[in-house]
C-alpha cells in the first residue's frame, strides 16, 4: 500500500449502554485509505456497536473517534458534514419506501450538495449502472428483491462520493441465492480502492477481500492481523474457539 493516510482512528473507545451493557471495552483500531477492514466475532461481541461509533450513530462513553484527523465528538465538529463522507449499509437495507429508486439515490445529494436535479440524476444513474440496476430507477423499493434492495442501498451511499463505506452484515438478511450479487458489488468496490469497514459472517468473503481482520469478543478486539494469519494460524485460544464454531456451523 502506497498511501498510508489514516481515515479512521479509534482511540480507547468504550461504550456502556443506558441499561448498563458494556458493549465496547477499550477498543482501538485504525483504518488507512484504500484499506478493507473486516470485523468478525460472535453475536453480541460489539461489532455493530463499534461500526456505529465510526459515524457516531452511537456515541462513545469513553475514548475518541477521529475521521480525517477530526474528532467526531468535538463540540465544533459538524457531524452531518462528516457523515456525508461516510457511507453506511445496513443489514435491513432501510431504503426509503415512499421514494422511487432514483429518488432514494438523489435525495441526499440534492438536499446536501445542492446539486441540481439534473446533475444528481446523472450521478445516480451512473451508480445504478455500477450496481447493475439502472432498469429499476423508476421502481419503488417494495418491488425489489432483497439482493436488489441491498445493491440499491449501496448505490444510495455511493452517490455522496464517500471516502469510506461501512457495512453492517449486508448479506445477513438475504436469501442464500442473493448473497452473491451483493458480495460481487462489494468486491468490485474493493478492487476500485474504496476504503471499507465490513462486519460480516461470510468468512470466505472476508478472507478474500480483507487487508486486515479484527476479531472481537465481549466488547474487545481479541486478535487482529492479515486474513492468512487470522483464518489459518490464529494466535489466541478465544479466536481459535470462535473460528472452530463458525466452521462447524457450515
Amino acid at each position: 500500500m502506497t498511501n498510508h493516510k489514516l481515515i479512521i482512528d479509534v482511540k480507547n473507545v468504550s461504550k456502556v449502554f443506558s441499561d448498563g451493557t458494556l458493549a465496547l471495552d477499550n477498543v482501538s483500531l485504525s483504518v488507512k485509505k484504500n484499506e478493507v477492514v473486516v470485523l468478525i466475532g460472535p453475536s453480541g461481541s460489539g461489532k455493530s456497536t463499534l461500526l456505529r461509533t465510526l459515524n457516531l450513530l452511537e456515541s462513545p462513553t469513553k475514548g475518541e473517534v477521529f475521521f480525517d484527523g477530526i474528532s467526531l465528538t468535538d463540540e465544533t465538529t459538524d457531524i452531518n458534514l462528516l457523515r456525508q463522507k461516510m457511507g453506511m449499509v445496513f443489514q435491513g437495507f432501510h431504503l426509503f419506501p415512499h421514494l422511487s429508486v432514483l429518488d432514494n439515490l438523489r435525495i441526499a445529494p440534492v438536499s446536501l450538495k445542492k446539486l441540481s436535479i439534473h446533475e444528481a440524476t446523472i450521478t445516480s444513474e451512473s451508480m445504478l449502472k455500477k450496481v447493475g440496476l439502472l432498469d429499476k430507477a423508476k421502481n419503488y423499493p417494495n418491488q425489489l428483491s432483497g439482493g436488489q434492495k441491498q445493491r440499491i442501498a449501496i448505490a444510495r451511499s455511493l452517490t455522496m462520493s464517500p471516502e469510506i463505506m461501512l457495512f453492517d452484515e449486508p448479506t445477513s438478511a438475504l436469501d442464500p441465492e442473493m448473497v452473491g450479487e451483493v458480495l460481487n458489488v462489494m468486491r468490485e468496490l474493493a478492487l476500485q480502492g474504496m476504503t471499507m469497514v465490513i462486519v460480516t459472517h461470510e468468512m470466505q468473503f472476508a478472507e478474500e477481500v480483507a487487508d486486515i481482520v479484527y476479531v472481537m469478543d465481549k466488547g474487545q478486539i481479541i486478535e487482529s492481523g492479515s486474513p492468512e494469519i487470522i483464518f489459518h494460524q490464529p494466535q489466541t485460544e478465544r479466536c481459535k474457539e470462535f473460528l472452530k464454531r463458525v466452521i462447524e456451523k457450515k
Binding site: N80, F96, L112
Partner: protein, 225 residues
C-alpha cells in the same frame, strides 16, 4: 310518536341552525386542535426532559378526564362577560371552544406522535448516516411516511369531535343537542326531538367515517406502488 314539528319551518330552522353550529364547532376545533397538536407532538420530540414531561402530562391529563368536567372547569375559570356580535352573544363559545381545542389537541397529539413513532428507526439511521440533518430527515423521510398512519386516525378524531361538540350545550351554546332540548321543551316530544338530533349526528359522522376508510385504503395502496 309525533314528528309533526318537522313540518313546521320554525322548528326546522332551529334544528338547522343547531346543525350548522355543530359543524362549525367541529371543523374549527379540528383545525385549531391539529395545529396545537402538531406543536405539542414536535415539542415532545425535543431532548429537554422537562418539556417532554410537561407535554406528556398535558396529553395524559386531558385524555384521562371527562370532557364535561373540563368544560365546567374552563367555564368557571374564564367568567366571560357578554360579547355581542350583532345581536348574537358569543361569550358561551369561549370556554366551549377552548375546551374543544384543548381536548382535541391532546388526542391528536397522541395520534401524531404514534404515527411518527411507527416509522422504523432504521429510516432515521439511514437518512442521518447520509449526512441529512435531523430536520431534513424529519421533513423528507419520516413525516411523509408517518402521515399515512396519521391521516386516517385524525379522521376518526374528527368523527369523535363531531359527537363531543354536544357537551357545549351545558355552557349554553346553541348547537344541535341544545336545540333539540329547546324543541323538546316546546313540543313535549321528548323522545322525538332527540331521535331527530341523533339522526342528524349520524348523518354527519357516518359519511365522514366512510370517507376516512376510503382514504385509509387509498393510502395503504399507495404504499404498494
Amino acid at each position: 310518536m309525533d314528528f309533526s314539528f318537522l313540518l313546521d319551518p320554525y322548528y326546522i330552522n332551529i334544528l338547522l341552525q343547531g346543525l350548522l353550529t355543530t359543524v362549525i364547532l367541529a371543523v374549527v376545533s379540528v383545525a385549531f386542535g391539529t395545529v396545537i397538536a402538531i406543536g405539542v407532538a414536535l415539542l415532545r420530540m425535543m431532548k429537554s426532559k422537562i418539556i417532554r414531561f410537561i407535554l406528556g402530562a398535558y396529553v395524559e391529563i386531558i385524555r384521562g378526564t371527562p370532557i364535561v368536567v373540563q368544560l365546567i372547569i374552563f367555564y368557571s375559570l374564564f367568567h366571560v362577560k357578554v360579547i355581542l356580535v350583532g345581536s348574537y352573544d358569543l361569550s358561551p363559545f369561549i370556554p366551549g371552544m377552548f375546551t374543544l381545542f384543548i381536548n382535541s389537541s391532546a388526542y391528536m397529539a397522541e395520534v401524531i406522535r404514534a404515527g411518527i413513532n411507527s416509522v422504523d428507526k432504521g429510516q432515521w439511521e439511514a437518512s442521518r448516516s447520509l449526512g441529512m440533518t435531523y430536520g431534513m430527515t424529519f421533513r423528507k423521510i419520516i413525516f411523509p411516511q408517518a402521515i399515512k398512519n396519521i391521516l386516517p386516525a385524525l379522521g376518526n378524531e374528527f368523527v369523535t369531535l363531531i359527537k363531543e361538540t354536544s357537551v357545549l350545550m351545558y355552557s349554553g351554546v346553541a348547537e344541535l343537542t341544545y336545540q333539540a332540548t329547546m324543541i323538546k321543551s316546546q313540543t313535549y316530544g321528548f323522545m322525538e326531538s332527540y331521535l331527530v338530533a341523533a339522526t342528524f349526528y349520524f348523518l354527519l359522522t357516518y359519511p365522514t367515517s366512510q370517507l376516512m376508510k376510503r382514504l385509509e385504503r387509498r393510502l395503504a395502496k399507495s404504499d404498494q406502488s
